[in-house]
Amino acid sequence: MDFTNDILILDLSKTKHQKLFEYLKKKNIKIVDTIESQLK
């Protein structure tokens, strides 16, 4: 995996992904929730 040019798709029903998600959230990154607009 190329950590600069590959994306990560996180499924939060998996514990391992939950941990990674929490780790990334702490990294001062932008969080964008597009679900509302996708369901319109």
Partner: protein, 307 residues
């Protein structure tokens, strides 16, 4: 009457998070199936559900990501999800007159293949992309074509020798090839249906054996001879007056063969049409097609003519 979605219903839909390292962002999205369904919903009924399934599964090979870039992005918008992309070049300031990936100055110096890959994933994170940042060469050409096999080759390279080699192999493997060339404000489209008839000559015979053999000895040629070959490749008799004149100025007054943004996007649009039609099994025969936008001035009608 359309029922308004309730928060309860939303809870039942599985969602995912996508981490984009180049944006340093986490984006909350629908699961792959629902994402695709919503994303392509406005294609219906211009593209039917069964047709959309075929497009989703098809694997597109794109070599040369100048005009290949807007072609790839339009294909993602249409709902294509499997790509192999190749270009060994980096984005330069002189590309910013036409490339979609050149929208940001911050990207200068970055690989065109990487930029295109990022843009594809920005539109649909579930796309599968094999990215060849070294471009196409003797070592990876077979892998690009058949490991795994592509369903159609979009050929937009500058390298004349590789243009011939990749066609010879595509012919061997029965893979259709499509190429769009800017001709001033107009577009020439070459379609080689090796999937239907493996016996048709390279570029439908428009390229004479003499020119093919000369291209194969390219290493021994001067810059002027190479430019002449590029002109032969496009065939002078089909070129607009201004483009024909430009060839003799390349390397003297011009940095390269001139191209303009509107024609790049026109090429992307027309290529998307032909790629879709070919993959959906529509009757598109091998040959050279012309889209003459200049006719618009005289006829208020654009025709795609087949030679």
């Amino acid at each position: 009457m359309i029922k308004k979605r309730t928060p309860k219903l939303k809870k039942k839909i599985k969602t995912l998070w996508v981490y984009y390292p180049w944006h340093n962002a986490l984006v909350h999205v629908l699961n792959e199936n629902d994402f695709y369904l919503v994303k392509t919903s406005r294609n219906q009924n211009l593209i039917t559900k069964s047709e959309q399934k075929i497009l989703k599964k098809a694997r597109i090979g794109l070599v040369g990501l100048n005009v290949g870039n807007p072609i790839a992005l339009s294909l993602v918008f249409q709902g294509f999800t499997n790509f192999k992309i190749a270009d060994n070049d980096i984005l330069e300031l002189s590309n910013l007159n036409r490339l979609a990936s050149g929208l940001r100055l911050i990207d200068l110096g970055e690989s065109k293949a990487v930029l295109t890959k990022r843009q594809i994933l920005d539109i649909n994170p579930f796309c599968k992309i094999d990215c060849f940042t070294d471009g196409i060469n003797e070592k990876n050409i077979i892998e690009f074509l058949i490991k795994p096999r592509i369903d159609i080759l979009v050929e937009e390279m500058d390298n004349l020798l590789m243009k011939i080699k990749i066609r010879e192999l595509a012919k061997n493997f029965g893979i259709p090839v499509i190429m769009a060339t800017g001709n001033g404000p107009n577009v020439i489209i070459d379609i080689e249906r090796y999937d239907l008839n493996p016996n048709i000559p390279i570029l439908n015979g428009y390229l004479r054996d003499k020119v093919i053999n000369k291209i194969k000895t390219l290493d021994n040629l001067t810059f002027t001879e190479r430019i002449q070959l590029a002109k032969d490749f496009m065939q002078s008799k089909y070129l607009t007056k201004r483009l024909k004149e430009s060839f003799s100025l390349v390397g003297k007054k011009l940095a390269g063969i001139p191209q303009i943004a509107d024609v790049s996007f026109l090429r992307a649009g027309v290529m998307n049409f032909f790629i879709r039609e070919i993959l959906l099994g529509k009757k598109i025969s091998s040959g050279r097609y012309f889209l003459n936008i200049e006719e618009l001035k005289y006829n208020k009608l654009i025709r795609i003519k087949k030679l």
